[in-house]
């Protein structure tokens, strides 16, 4: 049962400390689910993210709901899994309500505003670092294939990774479309 408490605490951190918006929250989510609690393997997490991005709602919220389900369904069955995803979403929601209450009061207070500016000087450069960490935590043999056991998968994965980066970054292809295209390429190449 302790796992429900950990789910609540983990996803609370994601929105309570996710300064820098969705990309920073992604790094927190990956740290909690992959490094700290090992609820999912990296390939399981990316598969859940694939599903999350093709559905309505924010991708982080969706990933958290699916993580809550997957982490608890093995031990507690289907309804236990539903409870896990409810607990995870509650963990995400309450800090957001708290921040909304604070936001307007902080804006109006000039003394606090100065402190916020000083904190932002340090936090703004941190966000790209958090995103890089989020990407690096997913770059491993589970997601890309290993050079000794599956060199073909590794080669194709690196090619698809670069193609997706160029496609979305330079040619502005929508992320959902790009993921779909790479999935179809996977059908053909694997």
């Amino acid at each position: 049962m302790l796992i429900y408490l950990f789910l609540l605490l983990s996803f609370t951190q994601v929105t309570l400390f996710g300064l820098g918006g969705d990309p920073a929250a992604q790094a927190l989510l990956e740290h909690e689910t992959l490094t700290l609690h090992k609820w999912l393997t990296p390939d399981q997490l990316t598969d859940l993210m694939t599903m999350s991005r093709c559905l309505p709602g924010g991708s982080i919220f969706n990933t958290a709901v699916l993580t809550g389900y997957t982490a608890t369904v093995g031990a507690f069955g289907n309804w236990g899994g539903v409870a896990g995803s409810l607990v995870s979403s509650l963990g995400l929601i309450w800090p957001a309500v708290l921040w909304a209450e604070c936001a307007e009061r902080l804006r109006k207070n000039e003394k606090i505003q100065l402190h916020i500016d000083c904190i932002l000087v340090l936090l703004r450069p941190l966000v790209p670092g958090l995103i890089a960490a989020a990407a690096l935590l997913l770059m491993n043999t589970e997601n890309f294939g290993s050079p000794t056991e599956s060199p073909w998968q590794l080669g194709v994965s690196i090619f698809l990774f670069l193609a997706a980066l160029i496609g979305m970054g330079i040619y502005k292809i929508h992320a959902g479309v790009m993921i779909l295209l790479c999935g179809i390429a996977g059908w053909i190449l694997f």
Partner: protein, 181 residues
């Protein structure tokens, strides 16, 4: 339409809950529903809230629903807006999650997912490259992103600790600046 909890819920359900796409995709449908169609908010109010939400920590779509719902109908409005935004995704996700593990190992699904994984990683990394240019990183602050990324990946340090430490440093810096002026 007059504003009550049900109409508010329905507006957020249609505009926020059924829009596919990441984060910012819900802004335009919401602006249309709340400002143009129902006139519950003025354009200025909407833009002001949007600016606040963009600077808030956490998940953009959640924060936006909470702030706008609260602005329109107080705390109960916040709950209605939040439910409207999250309910469709939640229901679909639960249904999908129950069948996902059993179809995950079908060859067609497995090869599709293998191809999609590198693209997901690319989609995660992409904002880093964009943000690097706009975040004003200079030689004196470049240690922050590089150090943080290495600590999180190699040492398994929690991003939470890094954020708390930098916030504390920023506060200290703030008190020094104020002592100066």
């Amino acid at each position: 339409m007059p504003v009550n909890l049900f109409t508010l819920f329905m507006a957020f359900l249609k505009a926020g809950g059924l829009t596919i796409g990441n984060g910012y995709a819900i802004v335009e449908p919401l602006r249309h529903a709340l400002v143009s169609e129902n006139k519950w908010l003025t354009e200025e109010n909407f833009s002001a809230d949007l600016a606040i939400v963009q600077a808030m920590p956490g998940i953009f779509s959640l924060n936006l629903a909470i702030c706008l719902g609260k602005r329109i109908y107080g705390r109960r409005g916040m709950a209605a807006a939040l439910t409207g935004t999250l309910l469709p995704a939640f229901v679909i996700l639960i249904v999908l999650a129950t069948c996902f593990e059993s179809v995950r190992h079908f060859p067609a699904v497995e090869t599709f997912l293998k191809g999609a994984r590198p693209a997901i990683v690319a989609a995660v990394l992409l904002p880093c490259l964009k943000m690097w240019r706009h975040s004003g990183i200079v030689l004196s602050t470049v240690w922050i992103p590089v150090g943080a990324a290495l600590a999180i990946v190699l040492l398994g340090v929690s991003p939470t600790y890094i954020i708390i430490a930098l916030t504390a440093l920023g506060l200290l810096y703030g008190f020094l600046v104020r002592a100066d002026s």
